[in-house]
Point group: C2
Chain length 321, copies 2
Amino acid sequence: MNEFELIQHFFTRSACAQGGENISLGIGDDCALLQIPAGYSCAVSTDTLVSGIHFPEHAPAFLLGQRALAVAVSDLAAMGAEPIGFTLALTLPHIALDWLQGFSEGLSAMAQHCGIGLVGGDTTRGPLAITVTVLGAVPQQQALLRSTAQVGDLLCVSGPLGAAAAALPVVLGEIDTQVIAAHTLEQLLAAYWTPQPQLQLGQYLRGKAHAALDISDGLLADCGHIAQASNVCLQIQQAQVPVADAARSLLGDAAALEAALSGGDDYQLAFTIAAQKLAPLQCKFPAVRAIGQVCAGSGVQVLDPQGRLVAQQRSGYQHFN
Amino acid sequence: MNEFELIQHFFTRSACAQGGENISLGIGDDCALLQIPAGYSCAVSTDTLVSGIHFPEHAPAFLLGQRALAVAVSDLAAMGAEPIGFTLALTLPHIALDWLQGFSEGLSAMAQHCGIGLVGGDTTRGPLAITVTVLGAVPQQQALLRSTAQVGDLLCVSGPLGAAAAALPVVLGEIDTQVIAAHTLEQLLAAYWTPQPQLQLGQYLRGKAHAALDISDGLLADCGHIAQASNVCLQIQQAQVPVADAARSLLGDAAALEAALSGGDDYQLAFTIAAQKLAPLQCKFPAVRAIGQVCAGSGVQVLDPQGRLVAQQRSGYQHFN
């Protein structure tokens, strides 16, 4: 089976390549063609996952397919965009039919969940790496930016944090899973392998939130991005940060809080919004929590219940450090 | 220097990140935002180059930057699309400042040449690989497809073929360059490292050509793609195929013809067009040559001057073979 047949078999015929109403030409030509509705901008983002860096070398193919797409679609959610299509650049050390089958099924499951279609890509030989580029549409002037937080806003997150970071030693096989309660184990693995892009919330926040992003590098690091882009200070009330139950069960309260503050891979949204908009928002999205506020100044501050600054040891995962 | 500073320094401030009028938000947020003009489709294509597979491990960074973008933009040319923006997923084994400087300068030079702006990307650690996703705009219903060749059309190519394939042993350091005439060497290296996306021709062919693609896998293989997608037979008159002078000088006539037919990496366009449109086309694009015709049937046939079928040994480079 040569490269072209390979791509055709596993991806052109996969469920994720069936396309939506805004895909006028899918896989198979020099380019795909997407329709961006009148009055909308085209939103685009690229993410790469490399074996041994972003996932274990022997990660299950189905889970990897789900996760690779979810991580990328999360960037559309963070802009308030509606997904349309994605391209997949897949670098493989060799052809393994079982692996390709599992990977394309995982990709398809997440694509259907998010309402996005595979429109093209490239398959090359080399060390396993997955680059997904997602495209979506967002009404002009309504995209959720990092740079428009306003002093006086509440700082909110879309749901509990820390489970994906807590799951990492489990995913890496570094701890004995038999000592973990089945329910906790299930939540940990789901948090790591099947992050849920917050698409509905992102679209709801258009015209309401002042700034937003998705939490991929860790709450503190990502809040730092908003603070820097908006030229403000974000104050976080440590006691208000929602910590995932599974992280608490595995790690205990202190380490779970640390995972919620500094661990990555949660793919919840962090956003700033005027205080009077919180109550109606929480009626529709009850997992949303206000965790702090936007102040004049710069950087990110974590405060204890007495309002004292809490020293932070690290501010999120970064490559090349 | 951490990942974020790295990306910011070399790419956000690079000449290629200055953006054009259709880029309303560039690098630095969760997504970039592009404006697709009313009545246009968004064209998107992804290409990956892997070290040791698509380019030599010690390839000069500047040339690699130029080539990685040119190869991707060529897909926009093949659709008749106008370039807008691109994302770059760069996987690096380590930070080498000189390399990044050279690469970003090569990328910027080609970006300015093509009128396209860097709008986002991802930098990760791992074996050197470059994935470029290009985005452009093409008037609805006017994109040049592979699937719409018509029986009776002329088959044309945009210029001479074979120089990039002939250059390969030079690029790989497999032959002594001192025995090659300086002018020939210059042409060979330019053909390989600085392919010229045929953007003006592609846009001119909208509403005129019936089918088109760019020649990346080799003339025969790529004509095979048109034949299959359009359900026709493409007949090539071997004597009409324009062979690059530099390929002839290095390889002699017979091997140069083989390079023109089966070598890849030329990034000229192959297209089919009604015969009466050839003369006005050649006035504007004098390098265009008619090399055959579209017939009922399937596959690709190469004919000698007596109209006899020429046997072909191979039909283009493919990975995993």
